[in-house]
């Protein structure tokens, strides 16, 4: 606050301008991006400790990228819808299911309900990470089998049960498919396809290299 209010210094008493000199000429261009430094900085500390710390840091970063805590944003939308999209989009959701949270320490509202692949109007099943998966499956299987039995009895009488049966039969099929999924794991997931995921690579990423710094001629 020097020079404001009561202590207003007249313009001429600015210490950096001696009497008789005009104002310094204004800047005509932006300041240089890398100005020359009068004092060169000291070199970085080397030595074993610094190198070990560096290695630790880079390792840590690399490991964090592969943990389930690293959340990748949704893949950028392509220009056209592609058939292989529905096989690719499942890869993302796997990451968070690997991580078993203790929900006692987290607020309830943060639980994510995972939608299973829905077939023809079936309600989605909520899957809390704390509930073991097998038990839930068994319960659902039993329910489905019971349902099947009761439906078989009614089959001759009702014609609309055809729809229901179709829906219910697809459910055990989905269960089996889902269980078979678990056993095969890895790449043969989702939608019971017989092809590994690299089958759906449509070759768009190949050869997209730019031509900078190529010394050899291109034919």
């Amino acid at each position: 606050m020097a020079g404001r209010g009561r202590g207003r210094r007249p313009f001429g008493t600015d210490p950096s301008i001696s009497r008789g000199e005009g104002l310094p000429p204004g800047l005509q261009q932006p300041t240089p991006v890398f100005p020359v430094m009068e004092q060169k900085p000291l070199p970085l500390a080397g030595g074993e400790e610094a190198e070990y710390l560096l290695a630790l840091k880079q390792d840590f970063r690399g490991v964090m990228k592969n943990l389930p805590f690293f959340i990748k944003p949704a893949a950028a939308q392509r220009d056209v819808q592609r058939y292989s999209d529905k096989y690719h989009s499942s890869e993302q959701t796997n990451s968070l299911t690997d991580w078993n949270l203790d929900w006692r320490r987290f607020p309830r509202e943060l639980q994510v309900h995972i939608r299973r692949r829905v077939r023809e109007g079936l309600a989605f099943s909520t899957m809390d990470s704390s509930v073991p998966v097998q038990k839930k499956k068994k319960k659902e299987e039993e329910e489905v089998l019971l349902k099947l039995e009761t439906l078989e009895k009614k089959e001759e009488h009702e014609q609309s049960s055809e729809e229901e049966e179709g829906g219910v039969k697809k459910k055990p099929e989905e269960e089996e498919g889902a269980e078979a999924e678990e056993e095969y794991d890895e790449e043969e997931l989702e939608e019971e396809t017989d092809y590994i995921m690299s089958y759906f690579d449509n070759g768009e990423e190949f050869g997209g290299d730019s031509d900078d710094n190529m010394d050899e001629a291109i034919y």
Partner: protein, 538 residues
Amino acid sequence: MTAQEVRLCGLLLQEHFGEVVEKVGRNLLKSGTQNLRAIVHETGLSVDLVKKSLCVLMQHGACSFIQGRKGPGSPTEYKAHCDRMLRILRYPRYIYTAKTLYGDTGELIIEELLQRGHMTMSNTVKTVADRLTQSMDEGSSMDYGEVSSTFSKLVETHFLQRCPPAVGAGTTGSSQTANSTSAAPASSTAPTPESFPDCYRVPQVTLIGRSKRPLASEEGEDQRNAKKAKMDPETHGDEGIYWQVNFERFHQHFRDQTIISAVANKLDQTSSEIVRTMLRMSEVTTSSTAPCTKPLSANEIFRSLPSTYNIPRHILDQYLTLLVDDPVGPPHLKYHSDFYLNQALANLARATLESIVQERFGSRSARIFRLLLRKRHLEQKQVEDFAMIPAKEAKDMLYTLLSQNLVQLQEIPKTPDFAPSRTFYLYTVNQLPTARLLLQNCYKTVANLMERRLFEAKESKRLLEKSQRIEAILASLQASGAEPEQLTEVEEMITAPEKQQLDSLRLHVNKLDSAENQVDETIFLLESYISSSTKPTS
């Protein structure tokens, strides 16, 4: 939260947790406490992604939640902790310290806990034992007991602490001791981990056996075993007890190390050993925020000195007297000696400020700066005389320092109208505000270094991917036993200029990384000084 801190936190979150978590974290830092809907609305992300990011942040302690702040029906609110996010910079230093103190086992324990945020003891022990077994020779495996004992040692010396039990997370009847339950639905201050009496108690864990080496030959069986392990978790008697790294204890350790090395540089090795003994004796008895250690009598010090230093009693007394007279954080000698930690930190911070000025502005400006630090207020004429620098240059340097805000001008009027010819203009340096300013500069520096590193990596992304692919091909070829001609053929897929480019890229990235580590040391010193001098002294 200053703008520089927010920027740095954003970059750290992006590197370690991805862009989604970075967006959510930044939003929380800038807007303070918010509920879920507001975050979703402001960041524009999907609800699921925001929920996942909040879980990730809470797992690592960077965010906490408060329920029912405005009454019983109000939504849960989330708050981010900026200083916790800034600790990520210091992780390598924590891991390295654990290695020097407790060997490879300690190093891996701390590394696992830092990667996962918080974990139960049994989980940690198992994971660390598996990792150690992988790096050991064929046929031998790591015993769980050994890892558990290292874990207990870490807890005893307070490097690890229990996470405070969850407050109002929606469960009833949890049998945790020291639980703050229905009596206070809206707790105004978050309980610190140390306010719970069981903070450092190691639970009874039944974990006997050795870690299993994963069998590479029987893959199917291994996968099924792995599935089984996921399906029914074995309980080891310590469910619900989570452990986290106690950063304050590590900071105390770093502070002690710095003081000891400063004394060693200034005096000699023996005096630094004496100081080390004094600090070690008061390690667990003094809290990390106390201004000085508990008073220790000279007898106690004498008895606790390591046996390699056979110095007789009277020489010890001489050393203590020397330390008292020395202006570097001296013990205060009466009948007892105690160590003024705050003063030691202030001295270290002052040395840091002086060296910063010296490296940026030259040794003569540094001379002026040091002069002003010691003499407090000086007029321009006095500065020129004391520093023995010609008037014109002294004026120039003073104005440079003034324009950088390292030096302040104090006006003392002789007459009420502040006429310039009748006013004293005194130059002065205030240590605390200058330290704060330089700390913000350090944050900006680290953020700049990180951005430059990301930029360099992005520029050469194509090259890096190509080299990674070639390395993968080479590794698989070598594993399947290929001929050397094939290997050379694959290696030649990278041309010579590309190899040069890769090398220089690696060199730059390493330099930037190690510069970040070094700036973090300065950040630690300045942060400790500022927090020690702004604490209310009881």
